[in-house]
Each structure stands twice: as structure tokens, then as C-alpha cells.
């Protein structure tokens, strides 16, 4: 009974195995990016970027229909363009990054909706907005896995400057010029992972599997490495449980994954070791030193 509910769907159906592999790849790459987005106070920047990839995906759709390769490629170009333009404008004018990005992403979103409305149907729009991880074919899965691998490699290269720039940007500027390139590379990784998530969860929820696990991790650790590990596990477990929930109840897969992550988030807010509400209400007796 338990086997049938929790494991059966994956042994029986190939599309479920593919979906599981995809959420694990998304978790491995997206959750660490989400942790840095949160720590750099850029959580909503990730959300804005998710909308910014829409026109590229829409152009891909306009040119070749529901071809995920074309939509991914278009999304990457649009996302990179917005990320780099916003980053360059912020760094060269002193405008805050969020204000700079808001302008570019709104323009991008307006352009995307216009393009979809030229040739789209409501079903196409639903696919773009919410994705469909259960409809993922082998080729798309390979793209997702490739993007995840690239993300982890690049993150390893920029890890140190990214950490130092997050905690003490002035210090980094005095010892190295790596801060600017690391920041731009990080924005590029955000885009790559949003496009990855876009296949599975759609533009509206793609950022969910990045930011929510990071928010969960913040309640359980004060150590960066531990936070990243917790975020990856939280994302993967949310992905797995969301797929099972979706399979058993016919709830759409993307929202199911995000709803499971929401449950984990609420549990963390209540019972988290670092700043959880219950711990604050019942802190236990004070220590001697």
C-alpha cells in the first residue's frame, strides 16, 4: 500500500522517473543559487527575473511552436539580456539593482505577453505560465541536467568572491577585481536555473524551488555550507513529495511541488532551530555562560 503510493508511480511510469530526475537536478543546482539570492537580499530579484525570460520563450514558441529547446534558448537570451543590462546599469550609475531590474523586467514581461497574445491560445499560455514537468522528454531532461552541471561548476569557480562580496563588498574591491564578474556570472546562473525551472514549473513558479528551500534552510542553520545542504534536501524532498501528491490527487505537478515546499516552510517557521516561533516562545532555561 505504502509502496504503491510512494514508490510505485516511479517504478511503473517512465514519465514519473524523468520528472523525479528533473526535480533532483533542479534541486541540486537551484537551491544553492536560491541560498545566495536570499543572503544577498535578492529573493524578489529572482522572481522578477522569472518574468523577464518570458519574451524569449515566447519568441521561441512563435517560431517553432511548443518546442522546449527553442523556448529554452529564447528564455536564456532574454534572461541574460535583462540580467546583464540591469547589472551594468546598476553598477555604472549607482541605481539600486532592484530598481534597475524592475524597469527591465517589466518591459520584458510586457513584450512577452504581447508576443504570446499574437499567436497563442489559452492552453499555450497555461503551459508557459505553469510548466509541465510530467510532459518532459529525454532531450529536455538532458538540457535540465546539463544546465545543473554547468551551474555547479560555475558556482564552484565564483564561490569565494561571491561569499566575500555578500558579506564585505568593500574588502573584496580592495583585494580583487573578481567581484563584478562574479556578480554577473551569478546573475547568469540565476537565469539558467530559472529557465530550467521554467520547463518544470512555468514562469510563475520557477523561482519557488530556488527561494523556498533557501528560506527553509535559514531556520535550521547559521552555517553557509549546512544551509546549502539543507536547501538542496528540502528542494528534492519537496519535488519528490509534490510529484507523488500530483500523481495521487491529479493536482497539477508544479503547484503541488510548491505547496509541499510551503508546508515545509511553515513547519520551519514554527519549529526552526534558528528563530523559529515555538523556540522563541519556549526558549528553555538560560545557560550559565
Amino acid at each position: 500500500m505504502i509502496y504503491d503510493a510512494l514508490i510505485g508511480p516511479f517504478t511503473e511510469f517512465e514519465f514519473m522517473r524523468r520528472a523525479l530526475a528533473a526535480v533532483i537536478a533542479l534541486s541540486l543546482a537551484g537551491a544553492p543559487i536560491g541560498v545566495f539570492l536570499m543572503l544577498r537580499r535578492m529573493s524578489l530579484v529572482g522572481d522578477a527575473m522569472a518574468h523577464a525570460i518570458l519574451p524569449g520563450a515566447a519568441v521561441g514558441f512563435l517560431l517553432s511552436g511548443l518546442n522546449l529547446f527553442a523556448m529554452t534558448f529564447g528564455g536564456l537570451i532574454a534572461g541574460f539580456a535583462v540580467a546583464i543590462l540591469a547589472g551594468v546599469v546598476a553598477r555604472s550609475t549607482g541605481l539600486k539593482e532592484d530598481a534597475s531590474l524592475a524597469t527591465f523586467y517589466l518591459a520584458s514581461l510586457a513584450l512577452g505577453v504581447t508576443i504570446v497574445s499574437i499567436k497563442g491560445t489559452n492552453i499555450d499560455l497555461l503551459h508557459v505560465l505553469f510548466g509541465n514537468i510530467l510532459a518532459m522528454d529525454d532531450q529536455t531532461l538532458l538540457v535540465v541536467a546539463f544546465n545543473a552541471t554547468i551551474t555547479l561548476l560555475v558556482l564552484a569557480v565564483i564561490f569565494r568572491p561571491l561569499v566575500i562580496e555578500s558579506v564585505d563588498p568593500l574588502f573584496l574591491r580592495t583585494v580583487s577585481r573578481a567581484g563584478g564578474p562574479a556578480h554577473l556570472a551569478f546573475l547568469a546562473l540565476v537565469v539558467v536555473n530559472l529557465v530550467n525551472g521554467f520547463q518544470a514549473l512555468g514562469t510563475l513558479l520557477a523561482v519557488g524551488l530556488m527561494i523556498m528551500p533557501a528560506g527553509i534552510a535559514r531556520f535550521w542553520s547559521r552555517d553557509l555550507t549546512a544551509m546549502i545542504c539543507i536547501a538542496v534536501i528540502a528542494a528534492a524532498v519537496s519535488g519528490y513529495a509534490g510529484l507523488v501528491l500530483s500523481f495521487q490527487t491529479r493536482v497539477p505537478s508544479g503547484p503541488a511541488i510548491i505547496l509541499v515546499a510551503t508546508v515545509f516552510y511553515i513547519v520551519s517557521v514554527l519549529f526552526g532551530r534558528i528563530g523559529g516561533l515555538v523556540r522563541q516562545m519556549f526558549p528553555g532555561r538560560h545557560l550559565e555562560a
Binding site: 561569499v163 555578500s166 558579506v167 564585505d168 574588502f171 583585494v175 547559521r222
Partner: protein, 251 residues
Amino acid sequence: MAAQLQFHNVTLGYDRHPAVHHLKGEVASGALVAVIGPNGAGKSTLLRGIVGIVKPLAGAIHLGGIDARDIAYLPQSAEIDRSFPISVFDFVGTGLWRATSLFGGIGKTARKKILDAIAAVGLSGFENRPIETLSGGQMQRVLFARVLLQDARLIVLDEPFNAIDSKTTTDLLALVKRWHGEGRTVLAALHDLEMVRNHFSETLVLARGPVAWGPTSEALTPENLMVAMRMCEAFDDSAAACADDAHSQAA
């Protein structure tokens, strides 16, 4: 003694408005210089100009034969995101950037250097503490430990003794004097005039421009301090272009 720092009629500022206007002079290698002045006098801007964070609007700053990476800079603690989950050990370890850069490992020797630097500022036992749990004084000690580890010839300290108790101040001041004794050049932006009189041989009085610069006993006079206090802090949006810069360029 050879100059460690030369200010060639340098103007530093923001959005064309000068925060430090037409500074000329030089700092000898191995000097211990206090930079004083009221809030908004341009002290932090000058230090940021020296370390290359703020580019001159006019003129130039020349480092006497050292690489820009051979400068250790201690920023004001308000510039640091204390909520970031990083331990004291890792934070201090960033002082080894010149040696480790992107991929260099932290081996036994480097590890010992980091632990020694933490011990030198009296924070042994704090290695694994997240920096967000430190007091203001402890964080200042951590910043000094990182400067120690950088082992730089030019050390630039931005208000290093702000809001810390007298014992911590005494301990950290001893470090500053040790660096001076080792022949390193030290510039520190300070507010405590008694400390400057007692421990710093040279003083630059700044008020958006140089008011006085020289031996502390000569620079730190009531008259000079009064001039600095009368400084106009606000930028003037309707100010004309600086005639002195035009003359310099024409020449």
C-alpha cells in the same frame, strides 16, 4: 624616507561634487598618520580613494612602488553584512586572498596563520562563532585579525575605534603601534583627539579639503580645529565648475 603615498592635487567625490578637494602632499614610508575632521569632512572618501574604491575626479594618488593588493583596508563595520552566515575563522581567512585567490586551499600553515591572527586579537575560542553573534568590539577585533593576516605594507583604517570599550581600544591601538614599529605605513581616520595627540606622530586635518597637515603638535591646534568645524558639509547643486581644475588642465 621614500614616499609611500603621493597626492597629486587630488580631488575625490561623488557625482562631480568634491568630498576631498585639491589635496597635495605625501606620506612617508613607515609613517603613522591620523586623519581627523568632522563628519562629512571626507575622511572615509580619502581612505577609499587610497585603496582604489573611489576614483579621483581630478589629480591622482600614487602608491610608492607597491601593488594595490599590498594595502590592507579596514572598513567601517557598518559596511559589513553581519547577518551573513560566515564564521570568524572563515571571515578572518579572507585576509589570505592574495595567497589563495579563487581556488587556493587552506593548508596547515595557512590554518595556523589564521588561528594565530585570531589569538593575537584575543578571540581564541571564537573561531566557529558566526559573525552575527559577535558584539561590536569583538567584530572590530575580527577586522583587525584580518588586517594582520593581510601582512600589507600600507594599512588603512577607517574609524577603527568607534563605539568600542577602552580595553578593546587599548589592545587594538597596541596592534597599530606594532605595525608602525614593523615599518608599515598606517593611516587611520579618527575622532578621538586625545588618542591622536598621544599616539600619532603626524596628522592631516581634513574639512572637504586639507586644513593642516604635518606633525601632530603643529597640525592639531585649536585654530585649525575651528576652521574644520566651520566646514560647509552640504553639496551645492548650483556650484560652478572648479576653476582650479581648468587651470591645471590648461597647464
